[in-house]
């Protein structure tokens, strides 16, 4: 067979270097081309990651056994010889940027698998990459000094799960810098400054929210084919809101990053919630940031404790609570109502109060405290609410005590912070049926103190955000920055905080995620579509279990279709239209406006795929099935 000249540009020789010309025949296979190429460059190095990219066809020549003829390559082909793994700037859900080597030659699905392996995130099928929102030029110049964590030195291993060292993948234990990267990945970030939240792009409408979904990369094609270049920036995000087999023990990074993504979704009102829910999210964020500063990592709870030991321990606590009198006393002003009347200060009367076990009793004076109390109130099951204003030196504890006749309202007005912290802590524990002997009593006092300190700070204008004090505006969306001053916000968050203050770090993160997942709009990804036969744009919401149709004029859900009833779906790639058939002869068809129909197709197929995962085969990812369900004609 006649031989002819083939020019191949070798990236490693530099961009100015001329293409290497080889004399080849059409029956030469790609492997042979690479061998000749390497010989000719006379560079000794590991070429194993290199492959040839065919520029005109936007295609990698990965099948080394294929001949040039089979690929259809002629002398005019512009070929590029380069590594398949290249550095990529990865924007993480927590807002940090990471530089690491990602695969540019395999479908994005595999690229994400590789990235997740390096980052120690299980179930990579739930994540994907998307093009970032372009930042404005001016801002970019200012923030160019952004810190970038570097992971490009991590060797590419083929092990399905990285070796663990000290609870983290071994490659993070190599150096202090690497450990710092792991800390960034696995520890939640402190609350962002209010200005940072305010500066971020916030979607104002459901159509705005729809635009972000046009940015997802195609999972069945590689990065090079989608125009992503070396050192480009892409975002790594959870795409499918169907989180499988969450286990705090193995999912430290996964949980942390999911929490960060959820937190930002709340702060930027990507997902709507009520004011009460926002306050609870705020309280949880506060608690999480506080606990994660004291605990170095998300340590999974030590389950090694022996059963008998724990039984004895709990008995000890119980007996202690019963025998040695854990109690404290003080003079407190108190007011009690059966029915709430207008609260005036003059109704308060001073009594000698005693707190013991789970009840409070009060006496006329200290001297009379030996005898029978005027009243003893058991706080078990009651509601405790704070009413505190540090600047006004108001320290009220409001108790709602259930009784057969209704709720008794009792207000305790404490003299100072110290007294308040002690009594409030006692009341909170007692309301949960715990006595003062409970080990959490001191913690409770501590957390109340720190919250009071926070209110003190926030009342002195905008204190700088440091570790000790958190501006409550950092915990809620900008809407509430306008609605409430920081010091108005503090008592409301404090109110919600008391229900979560006992949680461990892991539990608090899990609770945050749970409440997030319980929001009505959770898991909805929007796309603007045009239904067949309709003349106006409408919004299609894609959820883990259903599709919804939103009428933009009304702003309301007009129709719900569930995947369970879905018989089949098709894409007409020529006219870029999706057609879905449901049980009962329901057929819908629509064209996609804000996103390519491949993206919509992939969303639906992806969710079907997510629902097929089962516990039995949890460790192996059925990649083939994923591509079958999401790939469209290209995969088949």
């Amino acid at each position: 067979m006649a031989s002819w000249d083939l020019a191949v540009t070798v990236e490693d020789l530099g961009s100015d270097a001329p293409a290497v010309t080889l004399s080849v025949a059409s029956d030469l296979h790609v492997g042979g081309v690479i061998l000749k190429l390497v010989e000719k460059t006379q560079i000794k190095r590991d070429w194993s990651d290199h492959a040839i990219w065919w520029e005109q066809k936007q295609q990698w020549l990965l099948r080394t056994a294929w001949t040039l003829e089979k690929y259809g390559i002629h002398a005019d082909a512009r070929l590029l010889f380069m590594p398949q793994h290249k550095p990529l700037k990865l924007g993480l859900p927590n807002g940090k940027t990471l530089r690491l080597k990602a695969c540019f030659s395999r479908p994005v699905f595999q690229t994400v698998m590789g990235i997740c392996k390096i980052l120690d995130i299980r179930h990579p099928e739930e994540l994907s990459l998307l093009r970032p929102i372009e930042e404005k030029k001016k801002k970019k110049d200012k923030d160019s000094a952004e810190e970038i964590y570097d992971l490009t030195e991590v060797p590419l291993s083929s092990a399905s799960r990285p070796l663990l060292y000290d609870g983290m993948p071994a490659h993070f234990a190599d150096s202090p810098e690497m450990e710092a990267v792991y800390k960034m990945l696995s520890v939640t970030q402190p609350p962002p400054a209010p200005e940072v939240i305010a500066k971020q792009y916030r979607p104002a409408s459901v159509v705005d929210k729809a635009h972000i979904n046009g940015r997802w990369l195609d999972s069945s094609r590689c990065l090079m084919q989608q125009g992503i270049q070396e050192n480009d920036r892409v975002w790594l995000r959870f795409k499918y809101f169907s989180f499988y087999d969450m286990d705090p023990k193995y999912d430290v990074v996964r949980l942390t990053q999911l929490y960060e993504q959820a937190r930002w979704a709340i702060l930027l009102e990507d997902i709507d919630c009520t004011e009460e829910e926002m306050m609870l999210f705020g309280a949880l964020q506060y608690h999480i940031s506080k606990v994660s500063q004291s605990e170095p990592q998300m340590v999974s709870s030590n389950a090694a404790m022996d059963d008998l030991d724990s039984a004895l321990q709990s008995l000890e606590v119980k007996l202690e609570g019963e025998s040695s009198s854990h109690s404290f006393t003080s003079t407190i002003n108190m007011i009690s109502y059966f029915r709430p009347k207008r609260l005036t200060l003059k109704g308060y009367k001073q009594y000698w109060f005693k707190f013991q076990d789970t009840s409070i009793s009060y006496f006329k004076s200290k001297e009379e405290s030996i005898g029978e109390p005027i009243q003893q109130i058991n706080l078990k099951g009651c509601e405790v609410a704070p009413d505190v204003n540090v600047t006004a030196q108001k320290f009220l504890i409001r108790l709602l005590i259930p009784a057969p006749e209704g709720m008794n309202e009792v207000y305790l007005r404490c003299e100072n912070e110290e007294q308040y912290a002690q009594w409030m802590a006692g009341c909170r524990l007692a309301s949960k049926g715990k006595t003062l002997a409970d080990s959490s009593f001191q913690n409770e006092i501590q957390s109340i103190r720190s919250f009071l300190a926070m209110q003190k700070k926030s009342s002195h204008g905008n204190a700088p955000t440091n570790d000790e004090s958190i501006n409550t505006h950092s915990l809620v969306s900008p809407r509430y920055h306008k609605k409430y001053k920081a010091k108005q916000l503090t008592p409301r968050i404090l109110d919600a905080y008391q229900n979560v203050a006992q949680l461990s770090l892991t539990d608090a993160v899990m609770r945050f995620l749970q409440i997030w997942q319980a929001l009505p709009d959770f898991g909805l990804s929007y796309v603007v579509v045009r239904f067949k036969g309709s003349r106006k744009d409408e919004v299609l919401g894609i959820a883990p279990n259903r599709l919804i149709r939103i009428d933009l004029a009304v702003g309301d859900v007009v129709k719900t279709w569930r995947y369970n009833n879905m018989k089949q779906w098709n894409v007409n790639w020529d006219i870029r239209q999706m057609a879905i058939e449901f049980e009962g002869n329901i057929n819908i068809a629509f064209g996609c406006v804000t996103a390519d129909c491949k993206i919509v197709h992939e969303f639906i197929g992806g969710y079907i795929f997510m629902s097929t995962r089962s516990r039995a085969k949890s460790d192996t990812l059925n990649e083939e099935l994923f591509h079958k369900l999401t790939g469209g004609h290209e995969a088949l």
Partner: protein
């Protein structure tokens, strides 16, 4: 006495203060034991006129230890007497059986069973029974002589207890030897494991002294030699004692349960028992067909409302919310609405306005989808409801929405955007009740009312919220959605557990195990994992072939029904509930 008296108090938890006291009493179990015996003596006296002369030692000195517990027994026994005089058929036999079974249970805890110890423990537990059986007089055949049966059993009880009192008195005396308790205390210090403080020593002492007594008294050898062995023995005893402490601190309650046929049962429940466990023992005793619909229903007459206790709830805890003079009742009855949510999930979980049918396969998939994940999402419930205004008999319309975080309403003149919603109430502290006949009681627009209140509130109060729906379907949707929001996955676990019991109770001995399994697959959704759209799979073929393979006649009938069931929804529900009560459900369209 009129009919109403029939509905009087049946169950009494003791007041909270008395429980407070009880902790101190625990320290002196002997005293309590004595007190209990004293009360039994009194009972014996009053019951048995034919034995006027009582052994003197059974009497007074013990009763001097007056305490709250003592008081309550006097109270309860008084009521029993009254009842007996009135000729009410008290289920004393059953109660006695309960007591005996407790004794046996406790006997097994003991490492070295000796009869006296067992008896003593019986007394010990009984002393902890904080309950009073108050039996209200029926409309009277004016005091006939005691029913023979009852008096006989009481006689027996008296005879038994008198012998107990003798043996245990003996122990009490020896148990008070000072050296013994000292030794006990020391051995506790010895055992390295024990983190029990001196306080535990005190209570362990009283509980275990009887057991350890023998070994201590028998050993006349110098203490030094024996010490090591003794210490080991003591360590074991401490374990036993810990068990016993646990047991002894268990509160027990004698309750009266009403059946739908106006009869009632008396039984004893302990504070650890869940509603499910109580239901199980009731079902066992009453020999009625096992169906998941059996429920314990709390009816609060004064407020005209009722609630089905959830299976996982603690019964005693709930009953303790009742007041002393409460007219509340506990009903044991079949309620189709208890698990209607899981039988026809499509009517509750999809937010639809109309009832509809759904294939079993899809029901399972739907349930698994809603309850199988890590978080349970609350069904989308929203719409106009009537809200009763505080203190008035007027009702106003509001647009309500249910979210996992509580019930909200849309303020006037606003759209229903999440951020503008006003929180009506959060669900942590309230239960949802079904209001009855509020049209006449409160001038409600309809009789489909639900009530939200703290379980401890028993009387009219502004803290009780009344909502009224336009129709029964809406009401049931709301009540069930609130239950989901409140209990989440637990509700589904309860249902699955109830179904498992149903299947276990039904003895398909002639059926091969494979066909039982396929029959049960309808209630065990985890058996079906793949519910993707494409898998129009052959689940039905697979399972029905399992049936055809089985040989027995019963199974072929069963499988025939099953096959037909796959075509007609009606027979499908027959499959799920192979008992008559199911047909009740079919009469009601909605459930």
């Amino acid at each position: 006495m009129d009919q109403l008296s029939d509905e009087e108090v049946e169950v009494k938890g003791e007041e909270e203060e008395e429980e407070e006291d009880s902790d101190k009493e625990d320290q002196d179990l002997d005293k309590m034991f004595g007190a209990w015996l004293g009360e039994l003596d009194k009972l014996t006296q009053s019951l048995d006129e034919s034995r006027p002369e009582e052994p003197p030692q059974r009497k007074a000195p013990l009763r001097q230890d007056t305490n709250m517990a003592n008081f309550s027994y006097r109270f309860s026994i008084y009521n029993i007497n009254e009842a007996l005089n009135q000729g009410e058929n008290v289920d004393l036999d059953a109660l006695m059986a309960d007591l005996c079974s407790i004794e046996q249970e406790l006997g097994t805890v003991n490492a070295k069973p000796n009869s006296a110890g067992g008896m003593a423990r019986l007394g010990l537990t009984d002393a902890k029974v904080r309950a009073s059986v108050s039996v209200t007089p029926l409309n009277p055949p004016p005091s006939p002589p005691l029913p023979y049966q009852a008096s006989l059993s009481m006689d027996e009880a008296a005879r038994q207890t008198s012998s107990h009192s003798l043996t245990s008195r003996h122990h009490r005396r020896t148990g008070s030897v000072g050296t013994v308790s000292e030794h006990e205390a020391r051995s506790i210090v010895h055992s390295s494991r024990s983190s029990a403080t001196s306080a535990s020593g005190a209570s362990v002492n009283s509980a275990s002294s009887m057991d350890s007594l023998d070994s201590v008294l028998c050993s006349d050898e110098p203490e030094g030699q024996q010490e090591e062995q003794a210490a080991k023995l003591k360590a074991d005893n401490i374990r036993v004692a810990l068990e016993k402490i646990k047991e002894a601190q268990v509160k027990k309650l004698v309750i009266r349960v009403h059946l739908s046929d106006e009869s009632s049962k008396t039984m004893m429940v302990d504070e650890r028992q869940t509603v499910r466990q109580v239901l199980d023992s009731l079902l066992e005793k009453s020999h009625c067909g096992y169906s998941p619909d059996w429920s314990l229903v709390e009816t609060i007459n004064e407020l005209q409302m009722e609630r089905i206790f959830e299976d996982h709830e603690n019964l005693v805890e709930n009953l303790q919310n009742w007041t002393r003079d409460s007219q509340n009742r506990l009903m044991f009855t079949e309620r189709i609405e208890k698990y209607a949510l899981f039988k026809n999930p499509q009517n509750y979980l999809l937010g639809r306005k109309e009832t509809c049918e759904m294939a079993e396969r899809n029901k399972e998939a739907l349930l698994e989808e809603c309850f199988g994940g890590s978080t349970v999402s609350v069904p989308e419930m929203e719409g106009v409801l009537w809200l009763k205004e505080d203190g008035k008999k007027s009702w106003k319309k509001r647009y309500f929405l249910l979210r996992a975080s509580g019930i909200y309403y849309v303020p006037k003149g606003k759209a229903k955007a999440s951020r503008d919603l006003v929180c009506f109430l959060q669900l942590d502290h309230v239960n949802v009740y079904h209001g009855q006949d509020y049209k006449s009681k409160y001038k409600a627009p309809t009789d489909y009312c639900m009530v939200l209140k703290h379980p401890q509130i028993q009387k009219k109060s502004q803290y009780i919220k009344y909502l009224c729906c336009d129709d029964v379907r809406t009401l049931q949707q709301w009540i069930n959605s609130i239950r989901i929001a409140k209990y989440g996955k637990q509700l589904y676990i309860n249902f699955q557990e109830a179904m498992r019991r149903t299947e276990a109770a039904y003895d398909w001995s002639s059926l091969s195990s494979s066909s039982i399994k396929s029959g049960s697959s309808s209630s065990l959704p985890e058996s079906q994992s793949n519910h993707s759209s494409q898998s129009d799979s052959g689940v039905s073929e697979m399972t029905s072939s399992g049936h055809t393979r089985s040989q027995s006649a019963v199974s072929s009938i069963f499988s025939d029904a099953w096959r037909r069931g796959t075509q007609g929804e009606l027979l499908n529900s027959l499959l799920m509930y192979p008992y008559i009560p199911v047909f009740k459900g079919l009469q009601l369209n909605w459930f």
